[in-house]
Symmetry: C5
Subunit: 299 residues, 5 copies
Amino acid sequence: MLYFERIVIFCSGFVELIPLSFILGFYVSFTATRWWQQYTAIPWPDNDETSRILRRTLMRYLNLTLVLVLRSISIPVKRRFPTKDHLIEAGFMTKPELEMYSSVPSHEFNTFWIPCTWFVNLLRQAKSECRITDSGGLKLIMEEFNDFRSKCGLLWSYDWVSIPLVYTQVVTLSTQAFFLASLLGRQHIVPAEGNKILVHPYGEYYFPIFTLLQFILYMGLLKLGEQLINPFGDDDEDFELNWIIDRHVKVSFLGVDILNADPPPLMKDQYFDEMDIKLPYTEAAVAHKVKTYRGSVAA
Amino acid sequence: MLYFERIVIFCSGFVELIPLSFILGFYVSFTATRWWQQYTAIPWPDNDETSRILRRTLMRYLNLTLVLVLRSISIPVKRRFPTKDHLIEAGFMTKPELEMYSSVPSHEFNTFWIPCTWFVNLLRQAKSECRITDSGGLKLIMEEFNDFRSKCGLLWSYDWVSIPLVYTQVVTLSTQAFFLASLLGRQHIVPAEGNKILVHPYGEYYFPIFTLLQFILYMGLLKLGEQLINPFGDDDEDFELNWIIDRHVKVSFLGVDILNADPPPLMKDQYFDEMDIKLPYTEAAVAHKVKTYRGSVAA
Amino acid sequence: MLYFERIVIFCSGFVELIPLSFILGFYVSFTATRWWQQYTAIPWPDNDETSRILRRTLMRYLNLTLVLVLRSISIPVKRRFPTKDHLIEAGFMTKPELEMYSSVPSHEFNTFWIPCTWFVNLLRQAKSECRITDSGGLKLIMEEFNDFRSKCGLLWSYDWVSIPLVYTQVVTLSTQAFFLASLLGRQHIVPAEGNKILVHPYGEYYFPIFTLLQFILYMGLLKLGEQLINPFGDDDEDFELNWIIDRHVKVSFLGVDILNADPPPLMKDQYFDEMDIKLPYTEAAVAHKVKTYRGSVAA
Amino acid sequence: MLYFERIVIFCSGFVELIPLSFILGFYVSFTATRWWQQYTAIPWPDNDETSRILRRTLMRYLNLTLVLVLRSISIPVKRRFPTKDHLIEAGFMTKPELEMYSSVPSHEFNTFWIPCTWFVNLLRQAKSECRITDSGGLKLIMEEFNDFRSKCGLLWSYDWVSIPLVYTQVVTLSTQAFFLASLLGRQHIVPAEGNKILVHPYGEYYFPIFTLLQFILYMGLLKLGEQLINPFGDDDEDFELNWIIDRHVKVSFLGVDILNADPPPLMKDQYFDEMDIKLPYTEAAVAHKVKTYRGSVAA
Amino acid sequence: MLYFERIVIFCSGFVELIPLSFILGFYVSFTATRWWQQYTAIPWPDNDETSRILRRTLMRYLNLTLVLVLRSISIPVKRRFPTKDHLIEAGFMTKPELEMYSSVPSHEFNTFWIPCTWFVNLLRQAKSECRITDSGGLKLIMEEFNDFRSKCGLLWSYDWVSIPLVYTQVVTLSTQAFFLASLLGRQHIVPAEGNKILVHPYGEYYFPIFTLLQFILYMGLLKLGEQLINPFGDDDEDFELNWIIDRHVKVSFLGVDILNADPPPLMKDQYFDEMDIKLPYTEAAVAHKVKTYRGSVAA
């Protein structure tokens, strides 16, 4: 047996030693769960009460907090607002606010939560000046606000406490060793006469098409896992944070303005005097209409 | 060894390279979890208080919000209400409401949440006009309402942030490569004399019945995974959204009307003066009656 | 090689194509999770306040709602209360209540939630008549009640949205094909001279004891999965719903009566003047007494 | 080939039929999750308000409820308090309370929740006698209490609805069949001349050391799964319920007494006039001090 | 066949008996989940109300509770505060507080919760002296506080109830046996003439490079699992508890001071009179700007 053949057989065997599908299966499963949890950790400031200027400011503080967190953990958001002056320009902050913000010593920790304290302070002031009177409503706002603040903190935590490095390294190392071995181990060799050692039956001819395919599949899974770990970047699967910021600002200001306007006039609805309502179907939809369901045992 | 046989053996070996069962196992497991979470994300407007016209309008706004979200993410619901005029016709909206709705600039984001702001506004108005006096009840309504609104937002999020495309592609590509290889690799060949290479023992005769069966099983799992990703369409496993809309409208209006009626007269129940109650069993049921259970260690 | 032997070898190979253990593993894992979630979805009406007749009626409405849901989804409960008259006979409903219940148009959806609206109505009436004065307590009751109602709705949802049919079919088909193939593939054959094809080493003699054992194991897992999907039937693993109904009625009425009675007289407890308490151990128990634990690093 | 050799080869093949690692993997994974959920279901009565004798009694009722549940589901706790008189002796109950407790008909269900109704009654009495005036505080106590009560109910539910028996049986049967087969199948045999059937390459010599090791590993996993199902017994991994009872009683009484005492005098803290605080490190600790983290993208 | 060769073949076979990838997969998956749950169990005292000295004291008690728990379960924190005097020195406690703390009998359980009772007492005192008047705010503080206290208790529980020892032992034993066997089983041997027993095809030459690689991968996974179990130590993946303590103290005191200051002056924001807002993008960011998304079906 030639020396080259020995290496081929040797590497060929190694490929079976690495349960790559298994390792990648658990890894992707873990990162996919974490990835969805990160999405649900993004807060949405869609809820609220009170007078227009106060309300707009409160909303602005929420959005400011979110942008401050996102600037710390997401490259695209940082690229959009490279300095705090860009925040002023974009209307998230006013000059006096930036001064107050900068006066807090912050070289040892992230201070994204400062606008949150302004939020609480503003509410307390509004209450002591009796611009808010409904204490039940105030409690509701505070609860929504606490939820918003913890979600911002959670976003920062996902950035700080990433997946253990050892885990990522083991998975990456497995994949690399696997393909090094399979590249060598799947060379075509002619089994020598009288050779008892089993030759791997699929040494590939001319072009290693299937090894290439296998490479694509496993690399796809590995890259998928890596992308899912930090979904706040520029990748295709990443969340569009800049669009979310745009949407939040517009929707929260719009919501405030609509809330200040009168609601639509109260009028009787179409089925006011009917008990047994028939809702219309278009012709295209009626073809798919299902019979009702009352329970698997219901008579 | 002939050229054809080489290809057969070559492909035959590749089949073992793809751990398809594993990849599909994790994939279906992931999508099945997501599928059930999507079901629980559909809100049910079954809870409530207040005077009839106000209450019907509030209920209508909840249902309207839900229908507006579903029109954005579900083909069957869109088919049923292709334009907003269909919403008016079906009694979800009035003309003045549609005008107010359309006046909001919305070319950059979905505005399904506008009826929610009307809902809040209406409640505030009712409160300031003292048509609602119980502040505890009001807080409860607001909490239920916030829950309803976040669930609508969650529905939209499931539509926006789907399963990463790479994941779906890797899984689909695996399955396709697997069957291409097994189609070629399971041809019947006669092993040449003195051939040391192992011939796959189940080259199939005449008709590849088992490969077909295997194909059905794996394709079944793949299709299952794909269907579970978006359960708001026309497939058999999809949720019957149009029926849910019908049910919600009818039940919420019915609930309002029943709530306005008097409750049944208060009367003593059957066991009012008994301490040790014996509930009846039918003869068919008593055969299955179990002894009581007080705890595994209870004397 | 004879024709029979060919079939044996052919089938024998197929057995390896189906990763049955894998498919069943994920399936049972999924159904087991769902099964426990269904158990936790059964509501327990163990909490409450107010005057005796009112309180008994409120409790009765909760129990009635639960029985109405269970009659729609569980064969044993349906067998016990085949008609609504059986509900009257068992004291869950009064005649006037049944009349009110039946007057609601319900041919299109399940109306198990109607007693819930009575519950709310009754509470509102009691409040406006000042029979309930504590608004904090009222809010607590309403929260408990909303939880009870959503759990009833969830029970109905588990019945309506079962596990996707395709999933069950794929799993069942795998299992059946697997055993058909292994029955044929494990026949005893004598390998012909010069036959290069590997004969499965465990063609079984006389009686296929191990194939039978394997059959029992896999069928056990399959049946387990199927039973866990709907745990509201007659199977051994199913929840004893009729017993739960008995228990709920008795416990909720008992609870009401005990709540109306005076609590035990307030007296000093045994350790009132001691600071460092020594609780007694029986001799049998003291042998197992553990040293205390203050923390892994605590001094 | 001799008859003995046939059996060896036959059994040897069977070992490969059972995917034991897989079955045990899912089984242990399921039981481990359930095991931790059971731990979190144990309630801790560490929270509270009000006058000393009332408060001690309330605390005692919580602890009594817990002990009553645990006596029903845990052998060690039952061994410690074999009769209800032991509960009186240990100071959990007074004589009049036991009489009231025993007067409730309870042969059909567990009545561990009776002290809970006393708890509610006592609170209501205290409120109507104006010994508790803060309604917000009262609501908080009731919420904590409801949580405590549901956890006790959950403990009882874990005991009642155990893991489906079929599951445990399938797993146990697999393991036993696996080892029976491997004991027979790994005997050392000399392959006859011209025998085409593959002899298992690791018939073990003299002493089956590796089969023994494998046995230990799999049995370890099986026993682990079985222990995790019911963690309220005497096993090493089980929770030390008697110690928990001791701790709860002492801590809850201590908490009441400390709460009655005055809090420490209010004084300015060390950093009252500083803005930029430096907290000390010991020399041993400073070696491990990390640089601060402000966010992966933060400047 | 020589004796040495027999051992090699014997060990070689055993390697296949241990499904190490499987066992490690489930193990790491379990510990990784637990690891993240432990992170979320660390409480963050970022929320609050009231007058400065009172508020600072309340905050200090929260931080003190956390440090007391962490001293019991984390070696780095214990190293930093080896005695309670170090806590005084670091400003967490005052001398009178330490005296009160030490006067409580605590040789049987951990008393980290004592500052929590001070917290409650202080709040009650402040309320009875009318320094806090807003009962809604008080309830909110108490809810946040209860959450903080349960998280501290949960941290202690994770330390007390670790992963079952049997599980860790089985996994470690598997790994060790696996590598002992593979070290022996992968020696290079020359298959004797006429030997029917299959020689493992990858007896490695000169240096066992692939066995070494496999060793690194599996050991990496095992060590990863072990590190994830207790993330409060000195390892690289462990949470930086001392930094968290620093951050908590500084942030909570800062928050109190900012809350006492006035909020920024209320002024109209930049978009006050605009309805359709255009938020700026930097040039670098605009390249990545995405089109809006209104729903997969939205027109």
